[in-house]
């Protein structure tokens, strides 16, 4: 099927170019049929790429090892779900995955966007097609063609890297890709608005769901990435400020800033330039993220092999940046704000500061990630900065951001007076201080953690008060019962109350991150029957007793498993198994280096994390790295809560007026249109 796949790629490439050409010529020559053709081409690109994707999947699932990509990333004994996911395990396949998903999103944007923004759609088709064309060109001309065949057929493939043989890995990269890719749609709308000079709030409404969607995908992707790192990389943590991790955080930060600042534009007509810049920046940063992952410019544990694909990305990044910012510059005068900031004591001001902090964090992360390269350029020596740098800079900024999370919702839009501010802040501040005080009394003396947790309490107080007062207000204004008022409160303003759920999720993330400051580790070499103890930060004692090492063969690997009996304060609670795996192909040949499978006992309070580091010269005496990781479970829980909040926010409806009212408005509008049509049609004769 490689012939068909290859052919489809070429068809998609030509169609993409056609779409872009037609889209940009159409308004210039005033030829609406060109625009129609451009949109059709965008759908054509989608169809062609779907065909290509099916071809690659067919090659993978039928174990056609004559295809280089199939041979390089799968083997006969690889479980089918991993064969399926090998589609995006390697450089070449993941480029195709990008292109397919982007064209799908492009088509969805065409289908789901309201007709009232239809004059933007040809441009959107043009921009998305151009980005797709870029990815296809990398495949066809950058030596990354997934359909390349080998001059011979190996009897078995090289198998999938064991670190990628994990359920988290099956979904984490695609989630992150979906986040990266879906930013292209808001970007395309932004460019469309700039090109067409339709710079009112229209384009902002057209992309509202898209920005939320890509932010949600990014959040989920990042959280799943943490989970993967935690269970698979075996160093006992989930975030190491690795360049690839940083790269995924960057667009997330700018998108988070945008989600807040866009509300100011919708309500007040301010910040138009800023919002456009944020969208453009998010798109460029998502490209930067893929560039980092693929180019090998900066060393990382997550990156693909070094290849010349990086040059393509650097070039495209540069061109995209120049074009977008030039366009923004030429439309600058059209983007005048419609209002000025009324008062510092207003929600707008809080949002402005929150935006500054988001962008500040993004800048510092970008700076730290690029610092080795920058320092080499400027001073001739490479200087690297690691987790200490990022923690030093971002912990204070993160705490400031968390505080703003609690402050913003307490202040009214437009302006507020001191008396009201006092009434609003009293309770949340008391909650925070009380929480902090209790923790201090319980023996928590770490300053940063104490401050962070106090502020976390403040934010939770804010959210609780917002819900409570909102329900009370509805009961007074509409005479509803408590549950009714609660449901209606959320239903009538999903964005606000869904947003509060996300805020709670962020608080939980922060608390869980703070917990990692109390991690306890120990390395021990134990003979069977020997034990060692570790004191948990919560004060109790874990005893680990080495039971022995067993060896067996599973279907694509040879396993040595060490079992440890775990006792909590002298009471046996569990047996933890940690493994060393040697993956083999279907002929029993060794594939890859041996890999570590950690043993984790997860709990609400803390995780017990065991790494089996190896045996002492073939005996059952084994060395272990043991650690107690407090509050890790809450990171995953926060991820789930965040998705719930995000879905509440995105649920259709909510802000729109009731359907009947809307229909009436539309009927009136239709009549107006008919009238004006008649006016123009018969004006000459009358």
């Amino acid at each position: 099927m490689t012939l068909l796949g290859q052919f489809s790629l070429w068809v998609a490439l030509l169609l993409g170019l056609w779409a872009a050409g037609m889209a940009f010529v159409s308004p210039w020559q005033d030829r609406p049929e060109f625009a129609a053709s451009a949109i059709r081409s965008a759908f054509g690109v989608w169809v062609a790429l779907l065909v290509a994707a099916v071809c690659l999947w067919k090659g993978l699932l039928s174990h056609d090892f004559n295809i280089e990509y199939v041979a390089a990333y799968t083997s006969r004994n690889l479980p089918t779900s991993y064969v399926f996911s090998a589609f995006w395990a390697g450089q070449k396949g993941s480029l195709l995955f990008w292109a397919v998903v982007l064209s799908t999103f492009g088509a969805l944007a065409q289908l789901t966007t309201s007709r009232r923004y239809e004059d933007l759609l040809p441009y959107v088709a043009g921009v998305t097609s151009l980005v797709v064309v870029f990815f296809i060109s990398v495949m066809l001309f950058g030596g990354a063609n997934p359909f390349e065949r080998l001059p011979f057929t190996p009897p078995d493939g090289r198998g999938l890297n064991p670190q990628l043989q994990n359920p988290g890995m099956v979904i984490h990269p695609p989630m992150l890709y979906l986040g990266y890719i879906s930013i292209t749609i808001p970007f395309a709308f932004a460019i469309a608005a700039l090109l067409s000079r339709r710079l009112d709030t229209g384009w902002i409404h057209a992309i509202r769901k898209w920005t939320l969607l890509s932010w949600l995908f990014l959040s989920v992707g990042i959280t799943l990435g943490m989970w993967w790192a935690y269970v698979e990389l075996g160093w006992g943590g989930y975030w190491a400020w690795d360049p690839v991790e940083n790269a995924s955080l960057l667009p997330w930060l700018t998108m988070s800033a945008f989600l807040h600042s866009v509300m100011i534009q919708e309500k007040r007509g301010m910040l138009k330039r800023w919002n456009l810049s944020l969208i453009v920046a998010s798109f460029l940063l998502s490209l930067f993220g893929t560039f980092i992952t693929r180019s090998g410019v900066i060393a990382s544990v997550h990156s693909f092999t070094q290849s010349n694909v990086g040059f393509f990305f650097a070039g495209f990044l540069f061109v995209a940046a120049v074009v977008s910012f030039t366009l923004l510059y030429t439309r600058w005068p059209l983007l005048k704000p419609e209002a000025a900031l009324e008062s510092m004591a207003s929600r707008e001001a809080a949002f402005l500061f929150n935006n500054l902090v988001f962008v500040g964090i993004a800048f510092s992360v970008l700076w730290g990630t690029l610092f080795p390269i920058l320092s080499e350029w400027v001073r001739g020596t490479k200087i690297t900065v690691g987790p200490p740098f990022f923690n030093r800079v971002n912990v204070p900024l993160g705490i400031l951001l968390l505080a703003l999370t609690g402050i913003g919702p307490l202040i009214a839009w437009r302006k507020a007076s001191t008396a009201n501010l006092k009434r609003q802040f009293r309770l949340p501040i008391a909650t925070g201080l009380l929480g902090g005080g209790v923790l201090f009394a319980m023996g928590l003396h770490d300053l940063y953690v104490l401050v962070a947790l106090t502020i976390a309490g403040f934010v939770l107080g804010t959210v609780a008060q917002e819900f409570y007062r909102g329900v009370r207000a509805r009961m007074r204004m509409h005479g509803e019962s408590v549950p009714m008022a609660f449901v209606e409160l959320i239903a009538k303003n999903r964005r606000r109350y869904g947003g509060y759920v996300v805020h709670v999720a962020m608080v939980i993330y922060f608390v869980a991150f703070a917990g990692s400051a109390f991690k306890v580790t120990k390395e021990a070499t134990l003979k069977p029957g020997e034990s060692t103890t570790l004191k948990s930060p919560f004060g109790h004692t874990y005893t680990f007793t080495h039971l022995g090492v067993s060896q067996y063969t599973a279907f694509n690997r040879n396993v040595s498993a060490a079992s440890l009996e775990l006792a909590l304060d002298g009471k046996k609670i569990d047996v933890i198994r940690a493994e060393k795996r040697q993956h083999v192909d279907s002929f029993g040949q060794k594939l890859f280096e041996p890999s570590t499978e950690v043993g984790i006992r997860s709990g609400l309070r803390e995780d017990v994390y065991v790494v089996y580091a190896g045996s002492v010269s073939g005996t059952e005496e084994a060395s272990f790295a043991l650690s107690i990781n407090p509050l890790v479970w809450w990171v995953w829980f926060a991820g789930v809560l965040l998705v719930i909040g995000g879905l509440v926010t995105m649920w259709p409806g909510g802000w729109a007026p009731a359907p009947v009212a809307r229909r009436q408005v539309q009927a009136g509008f239709a009549v107006t249109l008919v009238e004006s049509e008649i006016g123009t049609a018969t004006g000459g004769e009358g």
Binding site: H205, S417, G668, E675, I678
Partner: protein, 168 residues
Amino acid sequence: MEAILAAAVGLAVVWMVLQPLVQPAPRRLASAEPPELEDTQRGRALLALKEIEFDRETGKLSDVDHSALKTKYTAIALHAMRAETATRPAAPMDIEAVIAKRVQQIRASGADAPGPVCANCGPRPESDAAFCSSCGVSLGLTAACSRCGAPVEPGGRYCAGCGTQVAA
């Protein structure tokens, strides 16, 4: 097999893309849907007013701020509404009247419309009609007196030539 599939996909896609150029769809109205409420000045002001009420109710706005903001946004909303009504006919609109007006206009300009034309009733919708479906007059000829054959004035009830009553 693969080549046939490839050719089929290719042809289908090419047809899909070129079809709008070969058979251009008629130009559509600028936009068939009204702008979203939040996209209009009126809508934004109304939403702001709603929010101001709610903010006072939850204790975020003091009464002084509330009334100041309310005055301001009420003025904006009224101004926007006036501006909107100035650019369109007075509501409520009588859709029947609009349609009747349009029909009249079409009739008035019936001379250059294709299809048969009744001398009494104007252009007919049935392109192949021999008689008017409204008044029964033959469409091939102008109305004529059944007795003497003289042409009858449209709308006339008696023949001007012989005085015979003409079928109306």
